[in-house]
Symmetry: C2
C-alpha cells in the first residue's frame, strides 16, 4: 500500500476542526472526539494525528523503528497543535509552574485489541512533577501520576515488559509490608518512580527522556509502529480485516483531566436511559475523588448516579443536559464516560449503548414517540434474533447458579420441574399441574405425550436435530439435548452426573438457551411480550412484503401462534396428529394391515378424528389460510423399535416358561390333596394368552423388519406412500375437505391448502390431484357447499427444483422444505453430520455455518432461486413460501425476501423474530 | 381431425403408381407393395385406397356404419383399378370362366395389432366358385378357398364372432369323425361352406352378397371402420400413437396367388442372409404345394431353402436374383415371403430382417465391403445394447431348460458351477479350478474374495443394486439377485426352492441376463468378440468425440478393459483394494485405532500395498490416463456387522462357561487321584485367552455401534473422511504419486488423475489439494522425478453442481457420479427405492424408467448440464466425464455427448457397447 504523498498534506487536526465522520482518516476514537467537541460537549481539548501520517511513517522504512521517519511536516504541525492546547488550557508542556499533561492513544477505523494503546500523563518529568506537587499540593497524587506515566511509556513506547515494572512495584510493597496499592504513601510511590526510572535507563542505555516534546515524538512513533506489529497483524488476519476497512492508526493527543483532585472531583459511567428496561432516566454510577481505574479496581463501591443530584446538584443538572444533547445528536441511547475535575464536567467518551432486548424494544418505540428517529430506524435498530430473549422464560441473569452438567442448547427457554424418566409417568405426575421435566436417553415419536405433559426435555444422547430437539422447538419448550455426562437409568428411575444422582421427583432446572442443567429450582425471568414489542411488530408488518405464518399442528399451537402475530398456518404436520396416544394404536393397526381392506378399516376410524382435528384448527385460524401437509415420514417411524419388541419378546418367553412351570406345580398340588382340602392354587390355564401375545409381537417384529430401510431419509415416505397406499392420502384429503365443508356450513370462512411432501415428479402431483378431485366432488355433493382450497407441493427434493416449471402447472403454491432440501443438496444426513463431522467442518472453516441452521444461499439458495424463477415463468402468480426451520432465521428470511418468496413459516415463538426480520429484509433491500 | 376435402383428390393408387415413400397416405404395407412393384419385383398386381379416403369416410358420420359414406369418387376409382387388374391378369372379377380373386388388407402408417386385418379370396360366389373348380380342376382347393373367404368376410366385414364359425366347422368334423382339417374332403368342405353361408344369412337377415363389387365395398367400409373401433383406439392410447404418427388406415387390394396349385407351386419365407450368423447365403424354408398357413399350422415340416435348388432349379435362380435385387434396393438384409404359383415366382412381402447381434455385426461389415452401405450406416444399423449378447456367455437359445426359480437379472451372462454357501468355501473349493457358484442370502464387502473365486453369484435378497449385483456387474460375472423363492440355510449348507433342495457341491446354472436359476448344467454359448466386431468398433472410435474409459480396480481389470478397447481407466475404486483378504485386517486395524498414532501404524502397512497396486495398474494401462478415486464409502462398511459380532460374542460366552466347568472338573479329578496315577485330564488355564477374545469382540462392537449411521448414504464418507482423518487420504495420495514416480523411473510413462469423492464445497477440495502439494514435493525430492498428474473432483453431490464455477477453479477435471447424484436429486435411496416403491412407480407410469438404469435427463441431466456450463465458464478446457453406471448405457451416453462431456467410464464388458453408443451419439447429433 503506497503512502499518500502530498506536500501540502495536513497531518494534524484539532478536535474542534476534524471531520467527525471521517474514521478512515482520524480513526474511530479521533473522529468521535472531534464530533463530541464540535457539538459543544466539554471534551478536554486535544488533537488527532491522521492515519495517513501513520502509513507514511510505516512505508518510510522497515522493521526497526530507527530507520523510519515521520512525515516531514508532521512534528511541526504537532508543535503548533500543542501551542494551541497550551493557549486553550493556560498550561504549558514542560512548564513546571503549570504543567500541561496529555494522554496519547492509538485509534484505528475499527476497534482493534492487540494494538499498543494508551500513555497517560505524558509531559511529566523531574521538573514538572515538582510543579504538579506544588500546584495540587498532593504529592501522593503526583507521584502516582508519574509512576503510571513511566510504566506506560516504558511499556508502550519502549516495549519493556509490564512484568518487569510489576515485579519492581511488588517488591517495594513487600519490603514495606503493604498489601493494597492505595496504602502506598507518597514516599513509597517516589521510591517506585525512582526504581522505574532505573529500569528505563537500563533498558534504553540512557536516562528517561526529560523533554516532553521528545517524549511525545517517541510515543507517536511507538503507536504508529504497533500497527505493523505481530499482534496487530495476526489480529487483522484472524478477523479478516482488510486494508480498506482499517488502514493505519491515528494518534489522539488529549489534555489530561483528573477526577481525583478532591471532593469537587468525580468520575463515572452512565447510560442516557436504563439499558435493562429502556426507562427514560439517566442510569449509571460514579465515584467522588477518584480515577476511572478505581471503579475497575473494585475497592470502592460506586454510587448510583441519582445520588449525584444530592451531592453536586449543579453538575447533576449539567449531566442531564449532556444526556439530552447526546441523544439529540446521536439519535441513539449513549453509554458515556465523564470526569468532574474540580467542579468542571468533562465528557471523555461516548458510544451507542448496549441494551437487552426489552430495553431495545422500549427505547425504539419511545424514540419514535419523541421524534428522535422514525419507524424504519426504530425497526432497524433492533436485531431480530435479540427478541428471543423476550419470548422465552429464562434463568434470572443476576443468579449465579452453577450447572451440574451441560448439553446442547437444543430449544431455547428455561424451566424447573420434577424429574421423570418416561412419558407415561410424565403424564401421570403432570396430570395435577405438577411441573415436570422429562429425562430420557433419547426420545422417540412414541414419547410425544410426554412432551405435552412436560415443561422441558433433557436427553443424554442426540444433537440439535434429534427427535427431542426438533419436537421441543416445535412446541416452544426448552430442551437440553445430548448432555453426555448424564447417565440415565430408566429402570431405576434415576440419572447420575458424576457424584450427583437425580431421583424421580427431584426438582431440576434446564436452561435450553445455554444448555445448562441445574439441580434444584433456579430463579426465572418470565417471557415478556410487551406492549412496546406489539407496537414495534405492528410497524414491522406494515413494512414487510413477506407474510409470516406458523408451523402449528393443533388448535393450541394455532392459538399460541396468533398471539405471536401469525398470519396463518404455513405448515400443519398431520403426522403429529397421528402420534397422539389415542390415535397411535389405530395408526399402527393401519400400518400392520395385511391388505387394503384391513387398512381401510383402520383409516375409517382415523377419518373422524382427523376431521375434528382440522375443523378445530380451522375455527381457530379462520379466515386465515391453513396449509396442511399430508403424511410425510416413513411409516415405520410410528412402530416401536426392533430392540423394543425384542425386549418384550424375551420377557414374554420368560413368562411363558414360568407359567408352564407353575401349571405343572398346580397340577401336582391338586393331585396331592383331597378335593375338599384343596389349597388356594390355580392352574394357569392361560398359557395360550401368552402364546397369542408372543405371536402378535412376532408379527409386529416381522412388519418392522419388512419396513426397515437402509437410508430412511431417502426412503418410502411422503408422496411415495401416498401413491403406493392411495387410501391413506385419500382419507386425509377427505378429512381436510369435510372439515372445511363443516366450517363453511357453520359460517366459519376457511380456505385450506393441501400440500404434498417429497414430490420429485409432476406425475406424482397429478396423481394425488386426481384423488383430490374425486374427494372434492363427493364432499361438495354430500355437504352441499362450494369448497375453496389450494393444492400445492413441498419443494424439498432437488429434482422438484429442477422440474419447477412442470410442477408449477399442477401446483397453486410451492413451499420450500429447506431441512430436507439442505440434506439432499449437501448429501449430508443431518443427524449423522451433526454428530460426526459438522462440528469439525465448522472449526476448520470448511463450512462457516451449519447449513441446517443458516440457509446455504450459494448452494441450496441457488437451487431455490432457480426453482422460483422457473416456476413463476410458467405461473407468474405462483404462491411460494418456506416452511423449513430456516423460515425463522433472519439471514435466511432476508434471502427469501430477495428471491421473491411470499411467505415464511416457523414455530410460534420465532414468529416475532421472523416478523421483524421480514421488515428488516424489505428495508435493507429498499 | 378434419378430413382433407378436395374435389380432384385421388383416392386409389395402383401398386405401379403409388409413392413408395408415402406411408402417411398409403400406409406401411401399401407403400411397401408399391415400392416392390416399382423396382421390378413380381408382386401380384393390386392397388391401394388411401388413408385420406378412410378419414373422409370416418368423418362423414358416426357410430353406425350405415350413416357413413365413402367419398363420392372413390368407388369409381376402385372400379377402374379393378378393370386395370382384370386387364393385367386376364381374369375378371365375378367372371365364372376365369375369376379374379383378391385379398383386402388394412394397413396404417404404423403396424397396429388390434385392427381388422385381412380378407382373402374375395370375388368368390356361387358362380365363380364353380368356375374356379372348373379352372383348377380342384374342388377341394376351391371349397377350401370359399369357406375361408366366407369366414373372414363374416368376421372382418360383418363382425360375426370367429367362434360361431369355428363351432360349426368343428361340429361337421365331429359328425364325420375327422380329426385334422387336411382330412376334410371337398364334400365336407362344401358342407362347411353351406353352413357358413347360413350363418351369414341369419346374421345379416339377407343372403351372403353375391356381387363381388358389393363384397368389395362392404369389406373396404369394414376395414375403414375398424380404425375407430374400440380395440384400435385403446391400442393407440396405450402406445401413445398420435394422429401425426398414423392417421387412418389404407386398404390394399391385391390379386390372389396360390402356392397350393400343384407340384409346380410352393410357398416360403426367406432371409437374404443368415440371420443367426450373418453368412452371405440365402436362408429360409419352403413347402411345395402349400399355402402360407400350412407352414404356420406345423403339420408339414418345411424344407431348407437349399433343397429348392434341386427341386425347382430355375425358380431357385430367380430367388437368388430376387435376393440380390432386394439387398441392392433396400441396402439391408431382407426377410421376405414368396409364393410360386404354377411355376411363377411372386414376392408377397419384404421387410428388414431381424438378426441376432453376431449377424448384425457381421453383415454391417460385409455390406460396407460390398459397398451397399457406408461406415456410418453400418454403425447406425447396430443398436449398441444388442452387443451385450456377444459379450457375455449365455444360455444356448436352442435349449429348453426350465428355471426352478427366478430372481432379478442383476448382472448379465450365464454360468454353471458347484453350489457353495460362503465365501471361504468358494475359495477353498474353487482353488483347483472347480467352477463354483456362490449362493448367499445377501453379500457383504467381507464376501469379496468369494466373488473372485466364483463364476456367478446368486442371492435370495436384495435388488439390482444390492452389494452382490453391483460387485458382480463390476467384475462382469453373472448374478441373479433377490430370488425370493430360494431359502438359504448357511449352517446346513443348503438352499431349498419349493420341493427342490440344492446341497453344497450340486451343479446349478445361473442366467444373469434373464434372472433364471437352473438345477444342473445347461448348455452355453460362449461370448464372441469377433473380428467383425473389432472392425466395427474401430470405425466407431474414429467417429466418436467421447472417449470410453473403464471402471477398473486391478491390473486384471485393466487388462480385460484394454481387450475391450478401453482408452484408459476412468474410475479406480481404491476401497476395492482395501477389501482384499490380505488387506482387510489392516484396514480394520486402521479403523479401530484409538488415536492418530495407532492409525498411522496401520496406514504405514497399507502404504506399500497400495503403492504396488497402483504401480501394477499403471504399468498395464501406460501411457493411458488412470483416474483414481480416494476412499469413498463410510468406513464402517469395512467392519463386520453388529449381528455378526453379537453372534460371535454369544458363542464366546458359552465357551467361557464350558471352559470354567471343565476347569472345575479337572481340579476335582486331580484331587481324587494320587499324583502318579493322574489320568490324562488338563486344567484349561486359558480362560484368560477367552476373556481377551471377548474383550476384543466387545471393543469391536463398541466401535461398530459408534460408527453406526442413520442414513449411511448421506453420512461420514468420501472427502468428509479425508478431512476428518487427513492421514488416510495422505497415505493414498502418497501411494499414487510414489507409484507414478517408480513407473517414471522405470521408463513407463504414466499420468495419474487423483479424484476426490463426495465433494460439496470448494474448501474441501482446496484442503485435499494442500495434502497433495505436500506429498508431491516429498515424492519428487525422494525419487528425483518430475511428476505429471491431474487433480479433480467427483460431481455426485447436488451442491457440487451448484458450485461448479468455484470448484472448477481448484479442479482440473470433473467426473459425474450419477449413481449418487441420482439418489440425491430424487431423494431416493437406491436400495430402498428398488425394493419398496420403484417397481410400482414404473408400473403406474409415475416414472417411465428406473432412473438408476436410465439417466434422468430432465432432472439429474439438467443439473449436469448446468454444472458443465458453469464449470467451463470458469475453465474452458475443463475435462469432464461420467463414471456412474449410466456411463455404459446408450441413451445416457447420447445425453453425455450432447452436453459436451469428454469421456464416459463403465465396466469392462460394457465398453464395446459404450464405444458404439458414443459413435451413434455423434452421428445422430451431426
Amino acid at each position: 500500500m503506497a503512502p499518500i504523498k502530498s506536500t501540502s498534506q495536513q497531518f494534524v487536526y484539532a478536535f474542534a476542526d476534524g471531520d467527525g465522520q471521517n474514521k478512515q482518516l482520524l480513526g474511530g476514537k479521533g473522529a468521535n472526539l472531534c464530533e463530541m467537541t464540535q457539538i459543544g460537549l466539554n471534551v478536554p481539548p486535544g488533537f488527532v494525528i491522521t492515519t495517513e501520517a501513520c502509513l507514511e511513517y510505516l512505508s518510510s522504512g522497515t522493521e526497526s523503528h530507527q530507520r523510519r521517519r515521520l512525515p516531514d511536516t508532521m512534528m511541526k504541525e504537532v508543535k503548533s497543535a500543542i501551542t494551541r492546547l497550551e493557549k486553550e488550557s493556560g498550561k504549558g508542556l514542560g512548564d513546571p509552574a503549570n504543567p500541561l499533561l496529555v494522554s496519547v492513544r492509538s485509534g484505528s477505523a475499527l476497534s482493534m485489541p492487540g494494538m499498543m494503546d494508551t500513555i497517560l500523563n505524558l509531559g511529566l518529568n523531574e521538573e514538572t512533577l515538582q510543579g504538579l506537587i506544588q500546584q495540587t499540593g498532593d504529592a501522593r497524587f503526583s507521584y502516582d501520576a508519574y509512576r503510571r506515566f513511566i510504566q506506560l511509556f516504558g511499556h508502550v513506547a519502549l516495549r519493556i515488559s509490564d512484568e518487569v515494572f510489576d515485579e519492581a512495584f511488588n517488591s517495594i510493597k513487600l519490603n514495606r509490608g503493604i498489601k493494597e496499592d492505595v496504602d502506598l504513601d507518597s514516599s513509597a510511590l517516589k521510591q517506585v518512580c525512582d526504581r522505574f526510572l532505573q529500569i528505563i535507563e537500563q533498558h534504553l542505555g540512557e536516562p528517561f527522556p526529560q523533554d516532553p516534546m521528545e517524549q511525545l515524538e517517541i510515543a507517536i512513533k511507538a503507536v504508529f509502529g504497533s500497527w505493523s506489529g505481530k499482534r496487530a497483524v495476526d489480529y487483522r488476519r484472524e478477523f479478516n480485516i482488510t486494508p480498506e476497512m482499517a488502514n493505519g492508526t491515528a494518534v489522539n493527543i488529549c489534555t489530561m483531566v483528573f477526577g481525583n483532585r478532591g471532593d469537587d472531583s468525580a468520575t463515572g459511567v452512565a447510560f442516557t436511559r436504563n439499558p435493562g428496561s429502556g426507562e427514560n432516566l439517566l442510569f449509571g454510577e460514579y465515584l467522588t475523588n477518584a480515577q476511572g481505574e478505581d471503579v475497575v479496581a473494585g475497592i470502592r463501591t460506586p454510587k448510583p448516579i441519582a445520588e449525584l443530584e444530592q451531592e453536586m446538584p449543579r453538575l447533576y443538572q449539567e449531566l442531564q443536559v449532556l444526556r439530552n444533547r447526546l441523544e439529540q445528536h446521536y439519535h441513539e441511547i449513549q453509554d458515556f464516560e465523564f470526569t468532574i475535575e474540580q467542579g468542571v464536567l468533562y465528557c471523555l467518551q461516548t458510544r451507542n449503548g448496549k441494551m437487552n432486548a426489552q430495553a431495545m424494544v422500549q427505547t425504539s418505540v419511545d424514540l419514535v414517540k419523541e421524534k428522535l428517529i422514525n419507524r424504519e430506524q426504530a425497526l432497524l435498530r433492533v436485531q431480530p434474533e435479540m427478541l428471543e430473549q423476550m419470548l422465552f422464560p429464562r434463568i434470572d441473569p443476576t443468579t449465579h447458579a452453577t450447572p451440574v452438567a451441560r448439553g446442547l442448547p437444543a430449544s431455547p427457554g428455561a424451566a424447573s420441574g420434577q424429574a421423570v424418566f418416561d412419558a407415561d409417568r410424565a403424564v401421570r405426575i403432570g396430570a395435577d399441574g405438577t411441573p415436570v421435566i422429562l429425562i430420557r436417553e433419547e426420545t422417540k415419536p412414541e414419547d410425544i405425550h410426554g412432551f405435552f405433559a412436560s415443561l422441558g426435555i433433557l436427553t443424554s444422547r442426540g444433537g440439535k436435530t434429534s427427535h427431542a430437539a426438533v419436537v421441543a422447538r416445535g412446541m416452544g419448550k426448552p430442551c437440553v439435548a445430548g448432555a453426555e455426562e448424564i447417565s440415565v437409568d430408566v429402570r431405576k428411575r434415576e440419572a447420575t452426573i458424576g457424584e450427583h444422582t437425580i431421583y424421580e421427583g427431584d426438582t431440576i432446572t434446564l436452561n435450553g438457551t445455554s444448555g445448562g442443567v441445574y439441580i434444584g429450582e433456579v430463579p426465572m425471568v418470565e417471557a415478556e411480550f410487551t406492549e412496546a414489542l406489539k407496537k414495534l411488530l405492528g410497524w414491522a408488518d406494515k413494512v414487510s412484503r413477506l407474510k409470516v405464518m406458523a408451523n402449528a399442528d393443533s388448535p393450541e399451537d394455532g392459538t399460541r401462534a396468533l398471539k405471536y402475530g401469525a398470519m396463518g398456518v404455513g405448515l400443519c404436520r398431520t403426522e403429529r396428529m397421528f402420534n397422539a396416544t389415542d390415535r397411535l394404536p389405530i395408526v399402527v393397526e393401519m400400518i400392520v394391515a395385511e391388505d387394503q381392506k384391513q387398512r381401510q378399516i383402520a383409516l375409517n376410524k382415523l377419518l373422524p378424528i382427523q376431521r375434528d382435528d382440522f375443523s378445530a384448527l380451522f375455527r381457530v385460524m379462520s379466515p386465515r389460510p391453513v396449509t396442511i401437509r399430508l403424511l410425510d415420514p416413513p411409516i415405520h417411524e410410528f412402530l416401536p423399535s426392533q430392540e423394543h419388541i425384542q425386549y418384550d419378546l424375551d420377557k414374554l418367553h420368560q413368562l411363558r416358561s414360568t407359567v408352564s412351570g407353575m401349571n405343572i406345580l398346580a397340577d401336582t398340588v391338586q393331585n396331592l390333596f383331597p378335593a375338599d382340602q384343596l389349597p388356594n392354587v390355580q392352574t394357569f390355564a392361560e398359557t395360550h394368552l401368552v402364546d397369542e401375545a408372543i405371536q402378535q409381537k412376532e408379527a409386529m417384529l416381522n412388519k418392522v423388519n419388512a419396513l426397515h430401510e437402509v437410508n430412511p431419509m431417502l426412503g418410502h415416505r411422503g408422496v411415495r406412500l401416498g401413491i403406493t397406499f392411495p387410501e391413506i392420502y385419500s382419507m386425509q384429503i377427505q378429512a381436510i375437505l369435510e372439515a372445511a365443508a363443516i366450517c363453511i356450513q357453520d359460517g366459519v370462512p376457511i380456505e385450506p391448502e393441501i400440500m404434498i411432501p417429497q414430490v420429485s415428479t409432476v406425475k406424482e402431483l397429478e396423481r394425488i390431484k386426481e384423488y383430490v378431485q374425486v374427494v372434492q366432488q363427493q364432499v361438495e355433493e354430500k355437504y352441499k357447499v362450494q369448497l375453496k382450497f389450494k393444492f400445492g407441493t413441498m419443494i424439498e427434493v432437488v429434482r422438484a427444483c429442477m422440474r419447477a416449471d412442470s410442477l408449477a402447472k399442477s401446483a397453486e403454491f410451492f413451499s420450500f422444505g429447506t431441512n430436507d432440501l439442505t440434506q439432499a443438496t449437501f448429501s449430508f444426513s443431518r443427524e449423522d453430520a451433526e454428530n460426526k463431522f459438522l462440528p469439525m467442518y465448522n472449526e476448520n472453516e470448511i463450512l462457516h455455518d451449519n447449513p441446517f441452521e443458516v440457509l446455504d444461499t450459494s448452494g441450496v439458495g441457488k437451487l431455490m432461486k432457480l426453482a422460483v424463477e422457473w416456476g413463476r415463468a410458467v405461473k407468474p402468480d405462483l404462491k411460494v413460501g418456506i416452511c423449513g426451520e430456516h423460515g425463522g432465521h433472519p439471514a435466511s428470511i432476508r434471502f427469501c425476501n430477495q428471491i421473491g418468496l411470499d411467505y415464511v413459516s416457523c414455530s410460534a415463538p420465532r414468529i416475532p423474530i421472523a416478523r421483524l426480520a421480514a421488515a428488516h429484509a424489505e428495508l435493507k433491500n429498499g
